[in-house]
Symmetry: C2
Subunit: 155 residues, 2 copies
DNA sequence: CTATATATTGATAATAGTTATCAATATCAA
DNA sequence: TTGATATTGATAACTATTATCAATATATAG
């Protein structure tokens, strides 16, 4: 069955689908229509997505796709480093596109939950210094600034 | 019944117990032996504590104290800003003393889970600048640097 | 192209952490 | 001391996530 109509692998530049396929092959896992659809829908979101939103959008396209498959696929996507998992204050996990996206930190409005992504070169520099000071090898980091945005302050 | 042997409120300087009592009174809540014990045991820990560790230590002193009371009390302590709740990568919540403790960020070993707390004045300064730039009023922040510590690297 | 080994799927049971319910009890203000 | 009501512990309920399993789809060797 040829469900891969886009035939993305003909594109010389590596994209998320190729990376995912390669990873699956490497690990002796299989490229399935469900996994393709989940990655497609995941990429159609900007910024952060939670399971609920993903599941909802998937249901619209294919109501037969089970929630367990969604969880399983996201776990693989995290393993192959295309996706990053976050756990925010409310305990719910959210997922974020990682590949070819510069690392970024988050500015979160505690009232409307609006989230802005940013980065700051000097902060990154100091992070590395701090790690060296304590003998750590830095692998990744997460910074969240919680505050109230302009709009919410007006109300 | 006078379970408050320490009579902490006679101490002129505000401490966690007074703050907690005041908060309870303000909100028309009651000062109970269970709440006192939970705060005591919470304060006896350094740095981060999770529910499990707290519950275990509480069981040693008073096996009759229910887990629901522990959750309820921690929620109040967070409300009155004596305690800060974090949710780390594994989805489990942990709690951290907040009052009279300088804010600090975390350096976490992804292998042994060892956690070091640190702060950096310039990073804090830049955080404020970033917030201003986006029109946010900064309320709190969280920074986690994930890496591998010296010991784990040797193994 | 076909056969075969095995990875994957969806449904659902199971689990873990947390919260809600409720009757008995403790607190606290008058 | 009393009475209104907040609190407690036990436990049911709930939510998010993971494990189980039989049916099915995929990849690969021939």
């Amino acid at each position: 069955m040829d469900f891969d109509n886009n035939n993305l692998s003909q594109n010389k530049m590596l994209n998320e689908f190729d990376i995912f396929k390669d990873f699956l092959q490497q690990k002796n896992l299989r490229w399935t229509p469900q996994r393709k659809m989940i990655l497609e829908i995941f990429l159609s979101f900007d910024g952060h997505v939670d399971i609920e939103s993903l599941h909802q959008k998937i249901q619209e396209q294919d109501p037969s796709l089970g929630i367990a498959t969604l969880y399983r696929t996201l776990k693989i996507l995290v393993d192959c480093e295309l996706v990053e998992a976050h756990s925010f204050h409310d305990g719910k996990k959210s997922y974020e596109r990682k590949f070819r996206v510069q690392h970024h930190d988050h500015l979160i409005c505690t009232q409307c939950e609006k989230t802005i992504e940013f980065e700051h070169a000097l902060i990154e520099k100091y992070q590395i210094e701090i790690c060296e000071e304590y003998g750590f090898t830095l692998k990744s980091h997460k910074m969240e600034l919680m505050g109230v945005c302009e709009n919410c302050r007006k109300e």
